[in-house]
């Protein structure tokens, strides 16, 4: 039985606790890195991470991109949308097709 984790700064994620997701507020990237690795090794199948934090942990996140579990998904935090999530989708199109043929004009 797997669980779902939410990682990011407290203000962005405290609401998810009410839904029954496990929230892990972190202050700095270093702490986030350790937490992420621990969660990935633990039984979390989906880890939502705020875009702000994900930006600083890109090396860690790419390490899990080839494995089936966990799925690390970026969500916008309280301070707004950086567009990194959308950018990621475009990047996977680029990897697959060679160039972004679907969303390049959006």
């Amino acid at each position: 039985m797997y669980k779902i984790a939410v990682l990011g700064d407290y203000n962005s994620i405290y609401g998810f606790a009410a839904l029954g997701l496990d929230t892990f507020p972190v202050e700095d990237p270093q702490e986030g890195r350790e937490k992420l690795n621990r969660l990935a090794a633990d039984e979390y199948a989906v880890i939502y991470i705020t875009e702000q934090l994900a930006e600083q942990l890109s090396a860690e996140i790419s390490r899990y991109s080839e494995t089936l579990i966990p799925a690390i998904i970026q969500i916008p935090g309280i301070s707004g949308n950086t567009g990194a999530g959308i950018e990621n989708v475009k990047k996977s199109v680029e990897t697959a097709v060679g160039s972004d043929i679907l969303f390049s004009n959006e």
């Binding site: 779902i4 799925a71 959308i86 996977s92």
Partner: protein, 224 residues
Amino acid sequence: MASTQVNPTRMELTKQKKKLVTAVRGHKLLKDKRDELMRQFLDLVRENMELRQKVEAGIRSANTNFVIAKAGMSEETLNTALMAPKQEVYLETGKKNVMSVDIPVFEYKTRTPDANDIYSYGFAFTSSDLDGAVKSLEDILPDMLRLAEVEKACQLMASEIEKTRRRVNALEHVIIPEAQANIKYITMKLDENERSTQIRLMKVKDMMLEEAHHYKEREAERGA
């Protein structure tokens, strides 16, 4: 053309021919795999984009709701209200095989079936805005899970497509032409060898006949 030296023997020729047949077959299969993967990927990635836009918009409005809720009550009350959640979400994970790529399938279960268990607080001290905020977040949860599933699948498929594409290209532009060039080289070399053997035999035959019948001596005698 042939970058590696091959021995021009019949055995090597058979080997190269077998290699070519395998390579051509593999090329066709991989090309089919790539095309099918690409078709499914494009469908999936469109869904991914739609879901992502929906989820991001949902989270943005939920965040706004939370800010409003926070404004209407003290920080302590809010923290206490959300401190001990009643509800818990579990995931049942499976995997689906799409053209040899394993993609995840998530199915979520809540600990209690009661939809109202997302409100982990008594309603006495919290503002109604908080209820709305929690509800708005709860509404996008199914979409968020679907997003996780689809986005992960897209990432996995994208890297598989890239790998397959490289393989197809390597077969098409390196392995197959090389095998063809090798086959041509060996065939020509073998033909050449055969011709030279033929000539050598003819020469030897001439010499042997000469030795047995002394044509040249007789020719000379007749001439004299």
